[in-house]
Symmetry: C2
Amino acid sequence: MAATLKDVAIRAGVSRSAVSRTFTDGASVSPKMRKKVQKAAAELGYRPNALASSLTTGRTKMIGLISNNFHNPIFLTVFDRFTRALQERGLRPLLVNLSDETDPQSSVQMMRQYSVDGVIVASSTLSPDFSKAFRDAGVPVVHTFGRHATNPHVHVVGIDNVECGRMAARALVARGHRRVAFLGGPEAATSTQDRYQGFMTEMAKHPKVKTTYSFADDYSFEAGRAEMQRLLQGTMAEAYFCGDDVLSIGVLSAVRDAGLKVPEDIGIIGLNDMEMAGWANIDLTTIRQPIGQIINSSVELIAAMLDDPGRYPEARLFPCDVVERGTLRPVPDP
Amino acid sequence: MAATLKDVAIRAGVSRSAVSRTFTDGASVSPKMRKKVQKAAAELGYRPNALASSLTTGRTKMIGLISNNFHNPIFLTVFDRFTRALQERGLRPLLVNLSDETDPQSSVQMMRQYSVDGVIVASSTLSPDFSKAFRDAGVPVVHTFGRHATNPHVHVVGIDNVECGRMAARALVARGHRRVAFLGGPEAATSTQDRYQGFMTEMAKHPKVKTTYSFADDYSFEAGRAEMQRLLQGTMAEAYFCGDDVLSIGVLSAVRDAGLKVPEDIGIIGLNDMEMAGWANIDLTTIRQPIGQIINSSVELIAAMLDDPGRYPEARLFPCDVVERGTLRPVPDP
DNA sequence: GATTTTTTTGCAACCGGTTGCAAAAAGTGT
DNA sequence: ACACTTTTTGCAACCGGTTGCAAAAAAATC
């Protein structure tokens, strides 16, 4: 069975406190004692029990990583990046799948049962109130992909979805499209609302361009495809800003099945620049959300909060940029 | 700050032991006492600290979920399923990303520091020795997607990759193909080796069919595409068994870019039946690996081991089946 | 009511660590 | 060698729970 601190103390012929100090950063212990203890510990294969020490230190080094999105392919990259960034700092992600429930209180309680040092909410659809429940319970929290506010109640890291909507609108206008449309994800999602708002307000500056919009049921291939199939029954726009890449791929599929050419007949621009967007058979023009930076910044922020829990809530927004690929025609020469 | 068992005891005017018994399944406590304690606990928002109790019980209900694959899209489904199945049993996954290192001992040590109740190794590329290190350290372990052996040292849950190779071969032969090929993932991977072996041994039964093989660098779209582009410079087979779905999608991309028609000119069969295989623009004929069953079985097995740690190691293999879609021509009528 | 049996309860020790503090040891200066 | 200062060390209490056991209380039996 696992060796304990007491076993090491007995073997090294020292007090338990000496052993503890040897393994506690910053604690005072003589070099001679340290060597004696380390020798005994090595012989026994001893490593401190993180959970026992957390009772005294109040630190587990575990971070709750909460998500309700396990279907959008970009989230595999998200989990890859989060796990790596946390591990690099000696932090351990306790993964929570909230696809089936979003009661803040039961999540808060569970996280406190495990004494996580902090929580990262990785979701664009879980509400600010969800994240705020952690803050109110005294648990450091960062909401990644959350909607920013002028006076944020919790730390938010992400992109400005409104600005992305404007950016997409500008991209379509710059290509001379006279009829454009927003095809968003689920209408109730804040990310959808913000992208829609940005798109529509930018398009309002171009009254001569006909602008329409609609929503898919979900951020998924099937939902995007189904919504475009519905649109194909009526009057089409020349170009579409689709709420995200996976939606865009569904839209592309429906368009091509209808015998239309992309970008010649129909232009498509997505959002996210997930790995698949660059696959040769997709080649999606999209707006890149800098996932790596967002995640590193989130982890940096949660780590900072461990040392400064009273840290004032901030919103860190990262700029997006248009990635030119094959689904939008080139900008005409001036 | 969080209420403790002691706070509840004081508020209810009872002993700490009474409070503990109220929250411990199977412990003896009168209904009257229980009600009194529960009232006080509710008023204080008390929940037992799982880590403190683990010191006595030896149980954290945390399960290490180890993976080194965060790029194959099917792993998003894998994580979704694992988190759900574990959560349903009140178990919590501590996620570990081993993309960058595979030293068994450091992983074992980390898991023991957190007193996980068990470990699930979700990887087809991490070696049996990796999993065995946990067993040797007395940590219950299940290797999901591991290679089975006649005398397994650890519990293994997955598919018979050799049989899948045979199955793919039979599928190609049944369609009358006279020139067939295996296009595998990384040659060193055991999954590649087994699939290759099954394919080749089955094809050996059909000496009149010309059989060739090659390997992609990786299980990825780009690697699949690149390998097919290389093959397109030479003599092509009529149909290919590609080592997994994501490889197949890359292969499809290269084939179509070369102006060939699928399945008329070239047939493709993949393996896994990940969500994307069914997308209308992919419509991949593939061999379904029953991910849901594999994962539920793994979780069932780890849960069983918590109660019976000495349980004899077993291998649970699930049958695969061919999913007919659009990338292989139909079987000719007899 | 008295006796016996069963259930409930609190005490105190335990789980594996950390840490304040006083005493001991080591180091420095004269 | 002695006085003073700094560092190191062990003790014992603590962190937030669980549990064996003996005593007390409740229930059952006659």
